[in-house]
């Protein structure tokens, strides 16, 4: 089986670290400027330098989004920024605007140029256009079908990156300015207000037209076979629990495909984990067919945040067998919890004792980010996570 890349979003340094620890081969991040997530925390140049050093120390790669659609005023500083990224030593920029592509080429930067999904490439001729411009990799439009991907690979032999998981635009990427019209926030310069999730009124009804999320778990093997090189997860605004769960799940899945050990039961288990994690349904969308009425939400949907994430392990003392945990959601004595992490098999346990920071017994952990201690014979490591027990893998096998 071919080596493929698992590419994770990283909205800040903590998320980057989690993504890489949980199995991403590469991460993509946004700088403070020129990134389509203008309202995310994003990375300063110093942050980028540290992120780059950390990522490369693990022999992994880091890509930086320069993916806005530039207005003339935005170009000021672009050349300097692209040079600075070169000095920092990033591995690629992700961009779609010709001004960024041509400026990077003019500067003879060492990093690669990856074409953003904003370009919505779905055919080999558009791919050829960009290949001749000097683009090294194309992030295909999410609307590309299996047949489109296969043909583009065969005809261009370009490095191909496909989104496999996460939120989707209802429109073709970049082809929507509803946000500009309804909120004056420029969708193509990082200000998208996700108006497709707003309520619209017609003569008959109220409705929204947002898409369910993308989830290509059932098709990863076929995607590898047709030549996809990089599997990309959406979500630079998502938290560490989401990143750990999604990246950790896809890591296991891809490794099992590579080892030829993936079972149908495990695939269903992974699907259930991912669907619950985002609190949104997810479907394969365009890979195997055109989306139907079932791939959209229409109205009355509240976006509730997932409360399964109970805490993150900060330390584990092998002598006392006590884990130091930072709380993230309410939990109490008697809860059945599940620990998961990048280097361990998940395990369940009932919480019999919880200690506060003064090592006094407590019944509940109900303060955000409070430090608690839990005794467990299973060895844990920093950055392992504790969640409420929901799915039991054994029941899927």
């Amino acid at each position: 089986m071919k080596e493929v890349e698992l590419l994770s979003p990283a909205g800040d340094f903590e998320k980057l670290k989690i993504a890489l620890l949980y199995g991403a081969d590469a991460v993509y991040v946004g700088g403070r400027n020129y990134s389509l997530r203008a309202n995310a925390k994003n990375f300063s140049l110093d942050d980028l330098k540290s992120a780059c050093e950390f990522t490369h120390s693990l022999n992994k790669k880091i890509y930086v989004t320069v993916n806005i659609v530039f207005h003339d005023e935005d170009i000021i500083g672009l050349e300097t920024y692209l040079k600075e990224l070169d000095q920092i030593g990033i591995d690629a920029i992700i961009t779609s605007d010709l001004v960024a592509i041509e400026t990077a080429k003019k500067l003879k930067v060492k990093y690669e140029i990856h074409l953003s999904t904003q370009a919505s490439v779905m055919n080999q001729y558009a791919a050829t256009f960009y290949k001749e411009l000097g683009v090294h990799r194309i992030v295909l439009g999410r609307e590309a079908s299996k047949e489109d991907i296969k043909t583009i690979k065969e005809k261009t032999n370009l490095d191909l990156e496909c989104f496999i998981h996460g939120a989707m635009c209802t429109s073709f990427s970049g082809r929507c300015v509803l946000s500009n019209y309804c909120t004056n926030r420029d969708a193509n310069r990082g200000g998208c207000a996700q108006v497709c999730r707003f309520t619209f009124e017609t003569e008959e009804n109220e409705f929204s037209m947002s898409s369910k999320d993308l989830n290509l778990i059932p098709y990863i093997q076929e995607m590898i076979e047709v030549g996809v090189n990089s599997f990309k997860v959406e979500g630079r605004m998502r938290g560490i629990y989401y990143i750990a769960t999604v990246i950790g799940t896809y890591r296991k899945l891809i490794d099992k495909i590579n080892n030829n050990t993936l079972t149908a039961g495990e695939t269903n288990y992974y699907l259930d984990i991912l669907n619950r994690c985002a609190n949104r349904d997810s479907t394969p969308q365009f890979f195997d067919k055109l989306p139907s009425v079932k791939e959209q939400y229409f109205l009355g949907r509240q976006e509730l945040s997932n409360q399964d994430f109970l805490g993150i392990v900060l330390e584990y003392d092998e002598t006392t067998k006590i884990a130091k945990i930072e709380q993230r959601n309410y939990f109490k004595i008697g809860d059945i919890v599940e620990f998961f992490g990048p280097k361990m098999d998940n395990f369940f346990m009932e919480l019999h004792t919880i200690y506060n920071e003064f090592m006094n017994n407590i019944e509940i952990a109900n303060h955000p980010r409070m430090i608690v201690y839990i005794k467990t014979d299973h060895k844990l490591e920093a950055n392992d996570m504790m969640q409420i027990k929901v799915f039991d893998k054994e029941s899927y096998l």
Partner: protein, 276 residues
């Protein structure tokens, strides 16, 4: 003397108008009013229009085809069979792949790039002009930005100057899905209003996807510049009488009689919310 000048200006204006055809039966009347160059949404390759036209239906010498779809692998290969460049003056296209496929087949025709929400800066436009004969400047930028681009672009450019403004293009059948979900009668056109902003839109769907247009009609017809190649007029959903009235007003430089707005010509968009 003044009358002569007016006639010259009117003649010049006529030649700069690229008029989108909504009904083949309107063409003769529009020609009588002075329209000389037509843009036909090309059947199988356009979205957001109620009528599309095959090459067999197009009899006008001064015709351009509009191909505003993003094309998948099958469709772009089919294009070579469906296209006869001897019958038209040029193509107005969204998908950059059309440049490459025409090159591969050694087909030469005038090629205008029209990506509604891209081509928002001078440098990008000048780079694109290495491949395309002209570019339609995005309507998502201000009048000052448009004028700066027109002043410095290395070839004449096109401008969308009248019509409903495309605000979203989706491959999904959004109206069919909406009607299926609520068990409503099939309709390929839907008026809708965003509940908070009260902004009105109209959506049109065909086999290849859905386009949502902002209402009312956009009006940038008064932008004049020597570096304009074409002013695109898109009278979508207007009746013949309304279109004739529109053409008369435009060519006689009179105020339009239908409700219009000026989009982002005088409104700069933002992208960072407070605190970021």
């Amino acid at each position: 003397m003044l009358e002569m000048e007016f006639l010259l200006v009117k003649e010049k204006m006529k030649n700069k108008i690229l008029y989108t055809v909504t009904d083949i039966n309107f063409i003769e009347k529009l020609k009588e009013e002075g329209i000389t160059t037509f843009l036909f949404p090309f059947k199988g390759y356009s979205v957001g229009y109620l009528n599309e036209f095959s090459l067999e239906e197009i009899k006008e010498a001064n015709s351009y085809l509009l191909l505003n779809r993003l094309l998948d692998t099958t469709s772009i290969k089919q294009l070579i069979d469906d296209l006869d460049i001897t019958k038209i003056k040029g193509l107005v296209v969204e998908d950059l792949g059309i440049y490459s496929i025409l090159k591969e087949h050694n087909l030469k025709t005038e090629l205008i790039l029209y990506q509604q929400h891209f081509n928002t800066n001078l440098k990008t436009i000048n780079y694109q002009l290495n491949y395309f004969d002209s570019i339609v400047i995005s309507s998502d930028i201000t009048i000052e930005q448009i004028e700066n681009i027109l002043n410095k672009a290395k070839k004449p450019l096109c401008l969308y100057t009248f019509g409903l403004m495309p605000a979203m293009y989706s491959r999904r059948h959004l109206l069919t899905h909406y009607q299926q979900h609520f068990n409503l009668k099939e309709n390929k056109v839907l008026n809708m209003e965003e509940k908070v902003s009260k902004k009105e839109f109209i959506a049109i769907e065909n086999e290849y996807g859905t386009v949502i247009y902002s209402k009312p009609y956009y009006n940038a017809i008064n932008i004049n510049h020597d570096n304009i190649k074409f002013k695109i007029i898109n009278p979508i959903l207007l009746s013949l009488d309304e279109q004739i009235e529109l053409v008369k007003s435009i060519l006689n430089e009179q105020e339009l009689k239908i409700e219009t707005d000026q989009g982002f010509l005088h409104t700069k968009t933002i992208y960072r919310v407070k605190g970021n």
